[in-house]
Every structure is written in structure tokens, then in C-alpha cells.
Symmetry: C2
Subunit: 234 residues, 2 copies
């Protein structure tokens, strides 16, 4: 019996505005390579992902093309560069429009999370196929409070079964396309929220490995430290 | 005019059960020193903190006493070791009972956060004296969802003005003592929640420096990497 794996693509979001970072964080060199190249390489290494759409800001195309020139031919064939928008929503849409028509599943990943591992991606893919959609996530362990405009605490949030979303997130391409056709979809902070609002199931895959999102310059030092010290092979 | 600074003490919580860590994380050696010694040293260096109560598990007393023997006499005089309970609530109570009677302000710190800096502590002290209480905190930047028992996402949490609590947290000693007298105080996840319920104001001090809490063994590698690579002096 021949077993056909559903066709899968990844959309790596690298068009962010990096407002809190000060400069374009995705182009910053980490151990001599642009930050986004770390997750790009991890996704390229996964054989079940046939296509990778790298969504970049339009004025960054030359930079990314130069960087991609150093890749092997086989890897290059997988990767397409498209221009993103100002918002995450617009960038996801650009990525979706660039997908080959036979793609069935889409992995969305934030290019500012360089530490994503093959096992995180595989597990999300597996659970998405089981439940319809999946997101890497961590249970909230800190106490949360809502504050007023003056940073004075007002109310405690019950943290029972509360999860903080990370990426990768895996969806059916058709679900994402339906969402993007909806006018109100722009107002959701992520695709999980939007799908949830439309009655879809999303499985949360518990992550226990470091997968931080570079937001402030100090995060970059943390990533550098991790890349040099932490043994991800264990 | 002579200006009297209110008397201030710190309670460092180091009696945790470390269930998710596998062994007692506070005793684990980081660059040759127990994890808890890092925050202990930072608190010892602050001249406006007259007294430090280190709350430890009863079977760890010898370990901590041996470690403290290496301290200078002046530092040692500041530090008292007391036994904590199974819960955070019981440990805070043990710490409070050990305070000198003239103490007015109490800084509570989680011993599993070794990266606390003098400026974090000073800022929390200052804001507490202004507002009545203060906690170091970070705005929630990730999307949060509540899930069911099977890890399937159910609802999106509005993250507007949502903050995740860290330590140090600074309170009036009298407020903490009043809280501990209340029967229901055991059910709160932290003192901020309890004070909030009783109509007190707590100012949230935004932290932008790394201040992670060691929970899993990998966090320790992160701390090691940070201690060796990040320049906290900048």
C-alpha cells in the first residue's frame, strides 16, 4: 500500500516592524547569520515540508536574496520569498497567496523564534492532522493581573488551564483561506483566536524547550548564549 | 533635618518543592555556587535593606549554613535562616514571623530568580513607598487562550493591560500581617492577589531585563549562559 502524506508548506513571518527592538531584528546577525536563517534552516531540514514561503518587508528583498544565494540548490527550490504587509494578518495573507495549489496543510512560524526544533514542528503537524489545527504553547505559570492605564493592578486573572501561544501553528490551508475572506478577521491577534471564534478545534501542544521570541535587544544575547551553550541534541 | 529611611527587610523564598525540576533546584550549583546565593548576594549588597530572611526547607538547613559560613561577618549579621512550609503561603508566614519588630517594609523575592538586579529592587521599593505596594511585572505580549482538560483551546483571553507578575514584590509589613490573619488568604496564588481582593493599591513596575524563574533543568542552562555572557552593567 502506498501512503500519501498530505502536502505541507511553511510560512515564515519575517516582515515584522521590530518597533520594540530598534532596528530590523530579523536581519541582525547572530553568530554571523541573520536571525531568521535559524528557523529557515530548521524548516528546510524537514522532508515532509515541500514548500517554504518566507514573508519579508519589501525593502529587504535584496538582503534576503543575497543570503539565500549561499544555500544549496535543493534547499533553494523549496523557498519562495514574498512581500508581507504591515500587520501579521497581511503577511499571512501574502504567504497564503503564494502557496502551490496542491498544499493542504500550512505551518505558520514567527521568524523571530530562532530556536524552533524539528521535533516541535513534527509534533504540531501530527496533532493538527489529528484535531484539525494545532499550536505550540506553554501553560501560564505566573500570576496574571489586569492593570489600569496607570499600571496599578485592578483584577486577578484566573490562570487555570490558561496557555500562552507560541509558534509553529499548523492549520488546514482551506481553513486559513476561509478566515481571510472574512472582514472581521483583521481584528484577531492570531489565527488560533480567529478559528476558535468560528467553532474550530485547536490542539495546544505543550512545549518544554526554549523557544523565545526576540523582542528586545537583550533577547538576542539570550539566543546567542543558548545557541552556544545549550545542547539541543539531548 | 534628619531624614529617617523606613526600616526594610527582604524575605527570600527558598523552600520550594521543585517538583517540575526533579531535584532541589535552589541547591543546584551554578558556576560553583548554589542557585539561591545569587539573589541572596544581590539583596545583601543593598544598604537600605537591614535584614534578610532566607526561608529554606527544614532538611536543607545544614546545606545553607555551610554555604553561609563563607560570607563576610557584616553580611552574615543581616541574614537569618528560617524553615518554610510546603506552600508559598506558609513560607511567607515563616518569614514574617522572623522579622525584627521595627521593620516597616518587606521585599518578597523568589529564590529561583537569580538574575534580580539592585535597580529592580530599588525601583520596587520606591514605587511601594509611593503607592503602598509594588511588584515587578512584565506586560503580556503573547496571545492567551483558555483550554479544556484535553488541551483543546476554548476561549481567547483579552490581553489588554494584562501583566505577568515577577518578584521582587514590596509590601507594608502590617498589610502582610493582616492578610495572614485571614483564613481565606491561603487560597490566593500570591500576596498581590490577596491585597487586591482587600482593596489595596499595587503598582506594577515594568521590567525589561531578564529575570527568569528556574523551573525546568533547561532554565538553569539559560541562567548559566546569561551569567557568563550578558553584561548586566550596561
Amino acid at each position: 500500500m502506498i501512503f500519501f502524506l498530505p502536502k505541507t508548506a511553511a510560512i515564515i513571518l519575517a516582515a515584522g516592524s521590530s518597533q520594540r527592538f530598534g532596528e530590523d531584528k530579523l536581519m541582525v546577525l547572530v553568530e554571523g547569520r541573520p536571525l531568521v536563517s535559524y528557523s529557515l534552516e530548521t524548516f528546510t531540514s524537514i522532508s515532509s515540508i515541500q514548500e517554504i514561503i518566507l514573508v519579508v518587508a519589501s525593502d529587504r528583498e535584496d538582503f534576503f536574496r543575497r543570503f539565500l544565494k549561499e544555500k544549496k540548490d535543493a534547499e533553494l527550490k523549496k523557498i519562495k520569498i514574498v512581500f508581507g504587509g504591515v500587520t501579521r494578518h497581511e503577511s499571512v495573507r501574502s504567504g497564503l497567496l503564494a502557496l502551490s495549489s496542491d498544499i493542504e496543510w500550512v505551518v505558520i512560524h514567527d521568524g523571530a523564534r530562532p530556536l524552533v526544533s524539528p521535533s516541535m514542528i513534527q509534533l504540531c503537524l501530527q496533532k493538527a492532522q489529528e484535531y484539525g489545527a494545532a499550536s505550540l504553547a506553554v501553560p501560564v505559570t505566573e500570576t496574571l493581573h489586569r492593570a489600569d492605564e496607570q499600571n496599578v493592578a485592578e483584577a486577578t486573572i484566573d490562570r487555570t488551564h490558561l496557555w500562552s501561544m507560541q509558534t509553529p501553528q499548523v492549520f488546514r490551508k482551506d481553513d486559513l483561506i476561509s478566515l481571510l475572506a472574512l472582514k472581521e478577521s483583521k481584528n484577531f491577534t492570531d489565527e488560533v483566536s480567529a478559528l476558535l471564534e468560528h467553532g474550530k478545534k485547536i490542539y495546544l501542544v505543550e512545549n518544554r524547550e526554549p523557544n523565545l521570541k526576540v523582542t528586545y535587544p537583550l533577547d538576542l544575547k539570550l539566543v546567542e548564549a543558548l545557541l552556544s551553550k545549550v545542547n539541543f541534541g539531548e
